[in-house]
């Protein structure tokens, strides 16, 4: 662990090697399983107390997540946007930046995709689909541009500025869907149907497993490329030790702006996917909570390629299973939320050092704010 060096106890034998330290901290597999089991048991007790059979409730949950081709399609189509946002957020996290603005960038991306698709309404799908994807990504980037510049230029805390821009996005989409983008007859905020030529087809009929889901694989592969690339290494280095990176000629502004733009572009792409694939219309709630859970997925997955993928699948399964638990067992949404939250908390205890390192890197970056005092 990083702080062993920082302690600089050079005059002495190290109490333990970092490897020992890590081993000590790593919650063992059995601890992790135990945590999840405890969460399941607590959830089961709550179900029992409210008159539900926990076993049928859990089995409905698993069924709703994996039990049929439709259920699998649901899990995948929910996991894909989470994974994409998770990867984009992970790029920023690895560079030492916490952006919690993905929620707003997804919204901006959906608007961008819709506008682009409407512009290309008469173009062949081969043009309209990629154009709308690009439009979504560009709007997502645009939505993080100001926070990125503020962070690079004035050291404005990006946790907060991106959160504020999420609020702005929520208000903007509400305005647009109530006014210029609203079909004349509609009385609640929603857009016209997404143009037909831009819609992403289904991979498996009778499910919602649409071709956009493959974007998650593409982004996943791009992420693997990124973390193995020279530039990705530079950004990681900046995240781990900003002053060293700067001394090696890695521009702080470039890392901050680019990594935030990457995260914005991926979130924008998700906006496109949701509009063109899953919902085929733009609603105020187009982003669901993808932006926020994407951040959780990035953290839970330790900002690694495999970790994010698994965490996104886990979340996709929890959400589709949680919904199925409501519709097939009549369990109230709030109770289903409780079960999902308990499981999330159970899963949160897993691999401490990796995430501690991650947070340390992020915070090392932030201390620059403190140091830049007069």
């Amino acid at each position: 662990m990083a702080d062993v060096v920082a302690d600089g106890d050079l005059d002495d034998v190290r109490p333990t090697t970092p490897a020992d330290e890590e081993r000590r901290l790593t919650t063992s597999l059995s601890t992790s399983v135990l945590a999840v089991l405890i969460a399941l048991v607590i959830g089961g007790l709550i179900l029992l107390m409210s008159g539900e059979n926990p076993l049928t409730a859990y089995s409905a949950m698993v069924d709703g997540a994996f039990g049929s081709s439709f259920a699998l399609g649901e899990t995948l189509s929910r996991a894909a946007p989470l994974a994409i946002v998770g990867y984009g957020t992970a790029v920023a996290l690895r560079a030492g930046l916490i952006t919690i603005g993905a929620q707003g960038q997804v919204v901006a991306g959906a608007i961008g995709a819709l506008l682009t698709a409407q512009f290309f309404e008469n173009a062949p799908s081969a043009v309209a689909i990629p154009a709308a994807a690009l439009g979504g990504a560009l709007f997502g980037m645009a939505w993080v541009l100001i926070p990125a510049l503020l962070r690079a230029r004035f050291n404005v805390n990006e946790i907060l500025s991106t959160l504020l821009f999420t609020e702005f996005a929520a208000l903007l989409i509400e305005y647009l869907l109530n006014n210029p983008l609203k079909p004349p007859t509609a009385i609640t905020p929603q857009s016209e149907p997404y143009p037909k030529n831009g819609i992403l087809g289904l991979v498996v009929d009778g499910t919602r497993f649409h071709f956009g889901v493959f974007a998650a694989f593409a982004i996943g592969i791009a992420f693997v490329w990124w973390i193995r690339s020279d530039r990705g290494f530079s950004y990681d280095l900046y995240g781990e030790n900003p002053s060293l990176a700067q001394s090696l000629g890695i521009s702080s502004n470039r890392v901050i702006i680019n990594s935030l733009l990457i995260s914005g572009a991926t979130a924008g792409l998700v906006g496109w996917m949701q509009a063109a694939g899953l919902l085929q219309r733009v609603y105020v709630q187009i982003a669901s909570d993808i932006g926020f859970f994407g951040l959780v997925v990035a953290f839970l997955g330790g900002a690694t390629a495999g970790g994010v993928l698994v965490a996104a699948l886990l979340f996709g399964a929890l959400q589709s299973g949680g919904l199925a638990m409501q519709s097939s067992e009549g369990i109230p949404a709030s109770l289903s939320d409780i079960i999902q939250a308990l499981l999330l908390l159970g899963f949160s205890i897993r691999y401490a050092p990796q995430i501690i390192r991650l947070t340390r890197g992020v915070m090392a970056n932030f201390t620059l704010i403190g140091k830049r005092r007069a």
């Binding site: 597999l29 992790s32 399983v33 999840v36 089991l37 399941l40 076993l55 049928t56 859990y58 089995s59 949950m61 698993v62 069924d63 709703g64 994996f66 039990g67 439709f70 649901e74 929910r78 509400e174 109530n178 609203k182 079909p183 007859t185 509609a186 009385i187 609640t188 905020p189 929603q190 016209e192 919602r208 949701q274 899953l278 919902l279 219309r281 609603y283 709630q285 187009i286 330790g302 690694t304 495999g306 970790g307 698994v310 699948l313 886990l314 399964a317 589709s320 919904l323 199925a324 409501q326 519709s327 097939s328 009549g330 109230p332 949404a333 709030s334 499981l343 897993r350 691999y351 990796q354």
Partner: protein
């Protein structure tokens, strides 16, 4: 590399444990077929929201009590469009006979699903407002007259107010909210053209404190009467009006409990009779056909059921006779004015105009 795969391994292992525990319990989808009609209701809010969702829930509850041979399942808080399709689909594949999608949230998914489940009857809300939506043998559309929810409140307000300023409190600035406000104004002005109005929006249907604050601001700016157009936020409007001793009327549900002193009246949706109709139609196989009860609107064959005061699907709740707040005319007189309005509508002498 070793580390990365170990994370993966752990996660997969956890997933498997999670899966095994639940899968061990097996499937037990065994609905005994006792001939009861299986009906599912989807609500955007909670069933006790004292507003739009509660109206449907109470309607179904009352209809089932009267019918006696119906099994129901109610799914609440399905407002995220991502969730509405799988929820509907789950009910459809559980072989429900009738699925009531009580909210415009469910129009798109019903349009995507109905053909796949020809044996399931779907009722949607507000499909007429969604371009391109159709009805079919197993899909019908229902919508209440927005103006009916607001107009009676306007008549009441104009008669009750002492002063000339009426404050209108809404949730988000949606079109149907604005339409209600306009209909309210039209009604009030038809009684007293000298009235003027202040309007405020809490920005959401759930932010009660914001609604309370908006109401307070309207009162500070001189409002002598408060009209709140709907949903949970009206709790905040009612609390503030009560504290300031200013009369109040509400769209979508009573606030009698919150503010017994100042609350005067409200409009509500009544779904019971429509739902009873639906039960019969499904049993007799006449669901979705344009028979005598259907008002065809728009395209030929579009099976659309409008709701309003005229068919008692919108009800004007009786005036709260326990109110202690000062009003320009007596409570009896207010009740008489409302009765007169309702009677003229039911008699077909008057139709509340759609504003704008």
């Amino acid at each position: 590399m070793a580390r990365r795969s170990s994370i993966l391994f752990k996660f997969l292992a956890l997933l498997m444990v999670f899966g095994l525990v639940a899968a061990a319990c097996g499937n037990d989808d065994d609905s005994e077929d006792d001939g009861a009609l299986k009906v599912a209701l989807l609500l955007p809010g909670v069933r006790n929201d004292n507003s739009f969702s509660q109206a449907a829930y109470e309607g179904l509850r009352d209809a089932v009590a009267e019918d006696g041979n119906v099994e129901t399942e109610v799914l609440e808080e399905i407002i995220d469009p991502t969730d509405s399709l799988p929820a509907l689909r789950d009910f459809a594949s559980q072989e429900f006979d009738l699925i009531l999608g009580h909210g415009i949230e469910y129009v798109d998914p019903i349009q995507q699903l109905y053909a796949e489940f020809p044996d399931v009857a779907f009722s949607m809300t507000g499909g007429i407002l969604v371009p391109g939506s159709v009805t079919a043998g197993n899909v019908v559309d229902w919508l209440y007259n927005v103006q009916d929810m607001a107009y009676p409140n306007g008549i009441l307000a104009a008669k009750a107010v002492i002063g000339e300023t009426i404050g209108i409190v809404g949730g988000p600035e949606f079109d149907f909210v604005k339409t209600m406000h306009q209909s309210f104004r039209d009604a009030a002005l038809s009684v007293n053209p000298d009235l003027n109005f202040l309007e405020g929006f809490a920005g959401s249907f759930v932010d009660v404190q914001a609604a309370a604050e908006v109401t307070q601001q309207l009162i500070d700016q001189g409002a002598d009467f408060i009209y709140c157009s709907g949903d949970g936020i009206c709790i905040g409007a009612a609390q503030t009006a009560s504290a300031a001793g200013i009369p109040l009327s509400v769209g979508f549900g009573s606030q009698e409990q919150t503010a017994p002193d100042v609350y005067l009246a409200a409009t509500v949706i009544r779904m019971k009779d429509l739902y009873l109709d639906f039960f019969n139609q499904v049993r007799t196989g006449t669901f979705g056909t344009a028979d005598g009860e259907v008002h065809a609107v728009g395209e030929e064959g579009y099976v659309f059921y409008p709701g309003g005061i005229f068919n008692a699907q919108v009800e004007v709740l009786p005036v709260n006779m326990a109110a202690t707040v000062d009003t320009a005319v007596g409570l009896d007189e207010l009740q008489a004015a409302l009765d007169e309005l309702v009677a003229s509508i039911e008699a077909g002498e008057f139709a509340i105009p759609f504003p704008g």
